[in-house]
């Protein structure tokens, strides 16, 4: 039976030849594109992984503490404050499982306290953590934040330096940059923040660094530079409200008022915090829409009321709002109360300005000079000092400080910058 075998053999040969041809020709002729994947959201991933793990292993106190810290970060990144409660619960759970020497849970509780403006509480948690583990960079980070906000400048710098000496990286660089900025060393602050940006891998971290770099550029009047930073940040993380607000600020400075108003409308729609609402109101007043401005301010009022009703204390927001709505006496009360709690430079400056608004310029001058003494290079602070000096008749000093304000950042506030210019003309003559 040869012939059937031939009938079989030929097709087999043909098939094999075809397959090999296909294999040879078919290979390596495809365009080699690397997979285009968006950078993954590490924070959301780590939260999901921790949640999964804790469902199967609920006694893992370390992961509970890590989850608590991650929730605090998530609240910061998404501006969703309900994560604070989850963070609290998770940290409590960790402490319940491991009450002694639980550094991670103490650090998480400290970070949470900072986020809730309980800076004294945060400082205490951080100190408790450091008593257990004197090498914890995270604990120094919490301590640095708390001391900075409380206004204890030397302690803050010391904590930041210790953090830098333990774990130089984005978190330490960012805090060091802020500390330098508060002391007026803006060039060093910018260099360090750039270092932080180079170390950033997560898109939210990149957005944060870009935002701070934008703010630093803005504060020295480099509007174009600020715009570049904000735009680059939005390319990394399009959801960042802070970056959108930065762009709106820059648009206002460049005179694109419609774009700025639209930007602020978007920002206050996403995150109606008193700070953003007041800025939006200022802009509305500038373009001659006082009724709309009042709407935003009353919304800010509601926001502050809610915050207080929920047990929060933010005298700074209350005072700023009172100033914006012309309630000078209330502003002084609120600012004094906040100053008693903490002496951060923003609080000092707000107190000075409130006193000025209430006509108590002599007292205001003391606080405004204190602000200037920190060395911070901020146009708004300089303008406030200049205005107070002008009100007290100290023309030379006023002229110097108003000039300083306008040379530092001529666009520092859409409402106040023109006023500063007018005042300068008046005292200049």
């Amino acid at each position: 039976m040869r012939r059937p075998l031939i009938y079989l053999g030929v097709p087999v040969l043909v098939a094999v030849v075809l397959l090999l041809t296909g294999g040879v020709l078919g290979g390596h002729s495809r365009p080699a594109a690397a997979p285009v994947a968006a950078p993954t959201d590490r924070l959301a991933d780590s939260i999901a992984r921790a949640q999964d793990r804790l469902r199967t292993l609920p006694k893992d106190w370390r992961t509970w503490a890590a989850l608590a810290s991650a929730y605090v970060e998530e609240a910061r990144v998404t501006a969703n404050p309900t994560y604070y409660q989850k963070a609290q619960g998770a940290a409590q759970q960790s402490l319940t499982l491991h009450p002694d020497g639980n550094v991670d849970a103490l650090v998480a509780l400290g970070a949470l306290a900072n986020a809730r403006h309980d800076f004294a509480g945060a400082r205490d948690q951080a100190r408790a953590a450091l008593a257990v583990d004197g090498y914890s960079a995270d604990a120094y980070g919490v301590l640095a934040d708390a001391q900075t906000q409380l206004g204890d400048s030397a302690a803050a710098t010391d904590a930041v330096q210790r953090m830098l000496d333990l774990r130089p990286g984005l978190a330490a660089y960012a805090r060091a940059s802020y500390d330098l900025e508060l002391h007026g060393r803006t060039d060093d602050a910018t260099a360090l923040m750039r270092r932080a940006l180079d170390a950033a891998t997560d898109p939210h971290d990149i957005a944060f660094c870009r935002n701070q770099l934008g703010e630093l550029a803005w504060q020295r009047g480099d509007v174009a530079g600020a715009r570049r930073e904000y735009t680059a940040g939005l390319a990394a993380d399009a959801t960042s409200v802070a970056l959108r607000r930065g762009l709106a600020q820059v648009d206002a400075a460049d005179g694109h008022l419609d774009a700025a108003l639209a930007g602020y409308a978007d920002v206050t729609g996403r995150a109606p915090t008193p700070g953003y609402l007041i800025e939006y109101a200022d802009l509305l007043r500038l373009v001659g829409r006082p009724a709309d401005a009042m709407t935003q301010l009353s919304l800010a009022d509601a926001a502050v009321q809610l915050f207080t009703a929920n047990g929060g204390v933010d005298g700074l927001a209350t005072a700023s709002l009172d100033l914006a709505t012309g309630r000078a006496a209330d502003a002084v009360t609120a600012a004094r109360a906040e100053w008693a709690r903490r002496q951060h430079v923003d609080v000092t400056d707000t107190l000075a300005w409130a006193l000025h608004a209430a006509g108590k310029d002599a007292e205001a001058l003391g606080y405004a000079r204190r602000v200037a003494g920190t060395g911070a290079r901020n146009a708004s602070y300089a303008y406030h000092l200049g205005a107070i000096e002008a009100a007290l008749g100290q023309r030379d000093a006023a002229r110097a400080d108003l000039t300083r304000a306008l040379t530092t950042n001529p666009y520092f506030s859409p409402l106040e910058a023109p006023v500063a210019r007018q005042l300068l003309t008046k005292v200049g003559s």
């Binding site: 097709p11 043909v14 290979g27 285009v36 006694k59 370390r62 891998t201 008193p274």
Partner: protein
């Protein structure tokens, strides 16, 4: 953000919440629960910094090259093979160091420092890693490349540059982008003057273990093990091979064969105020951010509260931290094993563990293991008064290379194995578990733990030439983000998710020929059977039914 909980999860969640509420009810309301005034700056606290994370150190006498010792140090574990678009570069603001101490004082006598630079040609046009297939390490299609500089310093002398701008093997993007990664690997394995060999680049993670073993500490048990948690992941590797004489005390490996090795990452110190404070740590201009000697020390020995200290300190400081020494002498894991598995924990103080982890196995330090294996105290030219116990991996260069390496190393009589150095095939989890239960002292393995974590070998085979580690994996480990840490190896499925470069414009020639081939096979098969059956029916004839 994940799905809502199922009803059973909701019940469990409520139980947890109820507990937490009862406990937290008193302190609840300390702050604003739901408002967001946020008028102060909030910076990230737990920022991701994976590139500097030390994960493993191996040190062994080179099997294929007598008189040469190989160090392999790995960083950044859990690299997902589909890690685009930025993949896993080495950090450019850090230095990656391998240290050798040959006289036992805890200070480095030989230092090898790697620093990296990135050359990013992407500009604003693209964020792709490569714009075509990369066929060699300097292929212009590779848009993001790294190079490294290797410097070395011996006995406190200034650093000398050994090589500058050496190529780093890039992250393995995928089989279509890098069809011959082996060639890239070969091009990145360079030989330096003095016979040194060096490699920096990505590799398969050679460590194999089931991380769930450590869930013992959290109420887990050893019954659910057997999966290599690290299977399928990659790491960044630095491999260095140097002659004995460059690391041995006085250059004489015959008289002084024992060396201690550890690896660190450090960054430059940043001073805000310009003057260092008085502490010795502050005077140095590098800040150590990660450190590793023996494997799993953080998991097994150092408690949570000391991990930061351990990462920051150099080995010469270890003996001064009583908590570290105390932890070695009274470890937690054996007590847990005793409570769960009723295997009696050996009595504290565990000076046998002190020998293994802190001094090296020697008779000269008064330890209970009566053997002289790998301590610097056994070097002929050592000054014993300068010896300090310190945590590092200790290797005896004179122990001959085993012909049949045993994964249980020293405990199975294989003198070349961990804790005498560490080879790629040593099963350090099982060895350490046994050692914690006293096996090194008694010389007998503990039966109840004989299976260990039931992961005995790496998922990829090692090579027998430098740099010995397997090529990086290409198959995705997790189909989507959010999997648990103990991710199982990918299961085969009908959609080839593993081959991520599926391109719908695949070669039509390939398709056509494959289709024709398939049709021919089917036809062939039926023809074959038809012919065969016809032959059958012709022999023998009978009254069969027609089909």
């Amino acid at each position: 953000m994940k799905f809502s909980s199922t009803s059973s999860r909701a019940r469990r969640g409520l139980a947890v919440l109820a507990t937490a509420t009862v406990l937290g009810g008193v302190v609840y309301g300390l702050g604003p629960a739901a408002a967001n005034a946020s008028s102060h700056r909030e910076a990230p606290l737990v920022a991701a910094d994976p590139a500097i994370d030390n994960t493993d150190l191996y040190a062994f006498v080179s099997p294929d090259r007598p008189d040469y010792v190989t160090f392999i140090a790995n960083w950044q574990p859990f690299e997902e093979p589909n890690g685009g678009p930025n993949f896993y570069p080495f950090a450019t603001d850090a230095a990656y160091n391998i240290y050798v101490d040959n006289d036992g004082d805890g200070k480095p006598d030989a230092t090898f420092r790697y620093t990296f630079q990135t050359i990013d040609k992407r500009g604003n046009d693209t964020f792709l890693y490569n714009k075509g297939p990369v066929n060699s390490i300097d292929d212009p299609n590779l848009l993001v490349r790294q190079t490294y500089t290797l410097e070395s310093s011996f006995n406190g002398q200034p650093f000398k540059t050994r090589i500058k701008d050496a190529p780093v093997a890039p992250s393995r993007v995928g089989p279509a982008s890098m069809p011959d990664y082996g060639k890239l690997r070969d091009q990145a394995s360079i030989t330096l003057p003095g016979g040194w060999k060096s490699y920096a680049g990505q590799a398969d993670d050679p460590f194999f273990l089931d991380l769930r073993v450590f869930d013992l500490l959290y109420g887990g048990n050893l019954s659910e093990v057997g999966q290599d948690t690290l299977a399928g992941y990659n790491v960044n590797t630095i491999a260095l091979q140097v002659p004995f004489k460059d690391v041995a005390l006085k250059g004489d490996a015959k008289r002084n064969p024992n060396i201690g090795i550890w690896t660190t990452t450090d960054r430059g110190r940043v001073r805000m105020s310009g003057q260092p404070d008085a502490s010795d740590n502050a005077r140095r201009d590098r800040v150590q951010v990660s450190r590793l000697g023996n494997p799993l020390v953080n998991e097994v020995v150092v408690p949570a509260g000391l991990k930061d200290a351990f990462n920051s300190l150099s080995p010469d400081k270890d003996a001064g931290i009583p908590a570290v020494v105390q932890r070695v002498t009274d470890p937690e894991v054996p007590r847990l094993i005793e409570s769960i598995y009723k295997v009696p924990a050996p009595a504290a103080p565990r000076n046998d563990l002190v020998e293994i982890f802190l001094t090296g196995i020697t008779t000269k330090a008064g330890g209970p293991i009566k053997a002289d294996l790998n301590s610097q105290l056994n070097n002929a030219d050592v000054d014993a008064s300068k010896f300090r116990p310190s945590e590092m991996l200790r290797l005896n260069l004179s122990v001959p290379v085993s012909k049949n390496p045993n994964r249980l190393g020293l405990l199975a009589g294989d003198q070349q194995g961990f804790p005498n150095g560490r080879r790629l095939t040593d099963d350090v989890v099982d060895i350490e578990l046994q050692a914690l239960e006293g096996a090194a002292l008694t010389g007998k393995l503990v039966d109840a733990l004989a299976a260990g974590d039931k992961v005995d070998a790496n998922d990829n085979a090692f090579s027998d030439k430098f740099p010995y580690i397997a090529l990086p994996n290409t198959a995705a480990v997790n189909a989507k983000a959010g999997k648990t840490g103990a991710a199982p190896a990918p299961a085969p499925s009908t959609t080839p998710a593993a081959f991520s470069n599926k391109d719908s414009t695949a070669s039509t020639v390939g398709y056509i020929s494959a289709g024709v081939g398939a049709a021919v096979v089917v036809m062939l098969g039926t023809a074959f059977l038809f012919v065969w059956w016809r032959r059958r029916t012709m022999v023998p004839a009978d009254d069969t039914l027609p089909l």
